[in-house]
Symmetry: C2
Subunit: 153 residues, 2 copies
């Protein structure tokens, strides 16, 4: 083995991963796939609502009337995104909109009776979705996962 070969070996030993970047082991890729898998499980249980739509309904059920942007911040959606979600829920009669009487900038969002029925009917199913998503994890692993990422804002 030449001196040059030895030097190469040493370099490889010092930085073993410089030349092999494994996409499948990067957090971003794993998060993207885990999210895809969850959306798929969700769709298999609840065909007529998307996860963001259900999130909006569930949060409205929890907190009652709020402004559109406020709701958005509660469910981690920016103003542009939440508008689209609410528009579609409104078109389906699950929420209704009204103007804030004092602050004329605000658009208040409320569940309709139909929307309330839908949430209450779907919440048990949503619990099953969470369960099924966590199924490949042991109870302890699931607990760690939930705790860790729940902390993140």
């Amino acid at each position: 083995m030449s001196a040059e070969d030895v030097k190469l070996k040493l370099v490889e030993a010092e930085e073993p991963d410089e030349n092999d970047y494994r996409l499948q082991e990067q957090v971003g890729f794993i998060l993207r796939k885990a999210h895809q898998r969850h959306v798929s499980i969700f769709a298999a249980h609840i065909a007529d609502l998307t996860p963001p739509q259900f999130a909006a309904l569930a949060k409205l059920h929890d907190v009652g009337e709020t402004s559109q942007n406020q709701l958005g911040s509660l469910i981690a959606m920016d103003a542009a995104t939440v508008k689209g979600v609410i528009d579609r829920l409104k078109a389906r009669g699950l929420v209704e909109l009204s103007k804030h009487e004092v602050d004329k900038r605000r658009l208040l969002v409320n569940l309709t009776a139909e929307g309330r029925d839908a949430v209450e009917r779907l919440i048990p199913i949503a619990r099953e979705i969470t369960e099924e998503t966590l199924a490949p994890l042991s109870a302890k692993e699931a607990a760690i996962f939930m705790r860790l990422w729940a902390m993140r804002g």
Copy 2:
């Protein structure tokens, strides 16, 4: 307390969560937020590529020439999605397309010299992104997280 009240209490005790569904504790919500956070960290480090675009480049760098659909399955994107990503990379001169000489259905994708340079320049940064995303976790927690979700397909 009436008999009816007692019955209600009992029901509540048996199913303590029936009436309080906490969106912030559901896996889907947590996954969505964790993914959002990662995309934000990615954008702060690599402004001119999205995570899916970088994934395509990194995988091409890893496996070399492949068909568009094959690449899609390697990076977990369906045919329609990968087409858009590859189109944009092609428009920027980072990949080039050619027809498979035998199987005329296939569209072969390759890195250009510029694309190869870009990937190799960005891989160290991508490692930093993974590190920063996992920063709030201890080494052991990060290992658990990676192992668990890496298993998922």
